[in-house]
Each structure stands twice: as structure tokens, then as C-alpha cells.
């Protein structure tokens, strides 16, 4: 065959290693979750958050393995699809960060706005209270 072969040639050995590492990592993920880490006598650190970040880290590692080996990003000649994949995460990170910038700071300037929106809007609340007072 004189033309170029499309894609990359799969290796059974690598596939086996990928599979084993994914299983080990998912066990690790469950392990982290089960670990009674928040009971440690450390108060200068949000241990719930540490735990979540550890679990997230494992998930990201697993995602990297799946995308790299099972979806073949590692073997690409042009890194086009890898760029697409990373763009995805960039956009999602933007989405997450900005949404958090909203929710984390709600009520920072006006205490009448709580984290969960105060559905009696400040305008109506004033009217309502003055109305009650007049009765």
C-alpha cells in the first residue's frame, strides 16, 4: 500500500495498561472519598475542600488518560483535536469561574441580597413594610 495509513496503530499492551490504571485510579477516588480526612486535627485548612480537590484531581487524571489513549489524542500528528479538547476545558473553566464570581460575592455590597436571591426585592420589601406600618 503506497498511501499513508490513517490514524495510529493500536497496541494491545498499552490498552491493557490503560485499563488497569483507570481501575486503580477509580479505586483511589473512592478511597479518598471514604477517608475520614475531615476528622484530622487541622483547623487552618478547609479539609472538605482538600478532599474535593483530591477527588477532582483523580477525575482529571482519569479524563486525561481516557482522552489521550482511548480517544487517541496522544497519537495525533497534528494536534488539532487536542486543541479542540483543551478549548473545551478553557471555555468551561471560564463558565465555572464567572458563575462562581457571581454566587460567591452575592450580598458583598448590599446585605439585603443573600446568596440565595432575596425574592422580596428591596423595593417591594420597603413598600410592603411601610404598608404594614400604616395598617
Amino acid at each position: 500500500m503506497d498511501m499513508e495509513l490513517p490514524g495510529h496503530t493500536y497496541s494491545f499492551k498499552v490498552l491493557g495498561q490503560v485499563y488497569v490504571s483507570l481501575i486503580v485510579l477509580s479505586a483511589l477516588m473512592v478511597g479518598f472519598a471514604m477517608l475520614p480526612m475531615e476528622k484530622l486535627p487541622i483547623d487552618w485548612l478547609d479539609l472538605h475542600l482538600v478532599k474535593r480537590l483530591l477527588i477532582l484531581g483523580v477525575a482529571v487524571a482519569m479524563a486525561g488518560i481516557v482522552a489521550g489513549f482511548l480517544m487517541g489524542l496522544k497519537y495525533e500528528k497534528s494536534k488539532l483535536n487536542a486543541v479542540v479538547f483543551l478549548t473545551n476545558f478553557a471555555f468551561l473553566l471560564i463558565f465555572l469561574l464567572f458563575v462562581l464570581a457571581d454566587i460567591s460575592f452575592r450580598g458583598a455590597m448590599d446585605p439585603s441580597f443573600t446568596k440565595q436571591l432575596n425574592w422580596k426585592s428591596p423595593v417591594n420589601a420597603e413598600e410592603g413594610s411601610s404598608g404594614e406600618a400604616s395598617h
Binding site: M1, M3, E4, L5, P6, G7, T9, Y10, S11, F12, L15, V18, Y19, L22, I23, S26, M29, V30, F32, A33, K51, R52, I55, L56, V58, A59, M62, A63, V66, A67, F69, L70, M71, G72, L80, N81, V84, F85, T87, N88, F89, F91, L92, F95, L96, V99, L100, I103, S104, K115, Q116
Partner: protein, 218 residues
Amino acid sequence: MSTATAGSLQEHEVAHHFEDLEQEFESHRFGMWLFMASEIMMFGALLTGGLFLLYLHPDAFAQGRAHLDWRLGALNTFFLLTSGFTMARAAAFAQKAEQGKVRTNLLLSLALAAGFLVVKCIEYKAKFHHGLLPGNAFHGAGFTSPHAHIFFGYYFVTTGLHALHVLVGMGLMIWCLKVSNRVRFTRAYYTPVEMAGIYWALVDLVWIFLFPLLYLVG
């Protein structure tokens, strides 16, 4: 090459608007990836919504999670990872032109995917039984958070959408089985199995994030 069926199988022909197999394969792969990108954006946004709700109602998530069985989740993780492995093997055998083993691995993946759905059904049934349902239908006992129903609403939406993708993935596997009866896979042409494999890896990918968000943290 599996000689028994080789005679009746056709060779793949390059479509009229492509120059060669390489261009065709690369275009298909790139197109598939862009489709995956849109799927990732969709699930990613849904997961971001989940994190937002987790932040808004931490109690609801903590109490809701206590009512999910992580062992069933882990079993499903195992099913999906294993089926991802067999799908990749199917593509590898397609490259070696071993049509029979491609089929075996596709059937294995299909069985594992079905296993995933069975476990999912068992979980859903338990939720229905205990009244752990979204919105007004919620009547679970022992919750102190007034927003616990949101956790279950979110649980049903995300796992339901994911299960729908599992079904589509199973459809793709069946389609690959059908193609394998007609066209000979070779090192030069294994596109259908590769594409189904990429799709199935996405189903894995989503579950890898969904599993900890719903079953482990909260």
C-alpha cells in the same frame, strides 16, 4: 484475516468529494471530535450547574448523597471502564482485520453497557420506592434540608441524560456490528469502530466526573 467471511465482504470506497482515505479518515475523526466538543460543553455546563447548586444548598447535597449507594455507582464505573477497554480492543482488532474478534469485543461492550443500564434501573427503582423524586413528587423521610428535592431532581436529570447517551452508544455498537457484516475492516479502513469508540469514551469521560459529584462528594 478471517478467511471464512472474507469473500462476501466489500472493500470500502472513498467518497466522491474526498481525495484519499487519509483525508476522509482525518475529516471524520475531526468531525467526531467537534461533535464530542459540543457534547462536553453540554455536560460541562450541566456539571457547572451542579457545582453551583452544591454551593447554594450544601445540606441538600450532603443529605441527598447519603441516600445514594456508592457501591452501585462504583460497580457502574467498573462496567463503563471495562466496556471502554473492550471498545478500544474492537478498534485494535479492526486494524488487524480480525473481523470475528471485532464482533466479539463489540458484543462484550454491548453486554457491559446493558449491565450499566440494569444497575441504573435498580437504583431508579429504589428512589421511586422511597419517594426520592424531584419537585412536588418528593416525599422522602428524614431530611432536614428543605431543598433535598433539588439534589434528586439534579440526580435524575444528569443520570437520565447520561443514560440516554449510553443508549445512543449502544446503537452505535449495533451499527458497527451491522457494518462488520458488510464491509471488511483493515488497517486502512476501520473508521466506524474508531468513531463509535470515541463516542463511547465520551460516555466514560462524563461518568468519571458524574460519579464523584453525585456519589462521593456532597
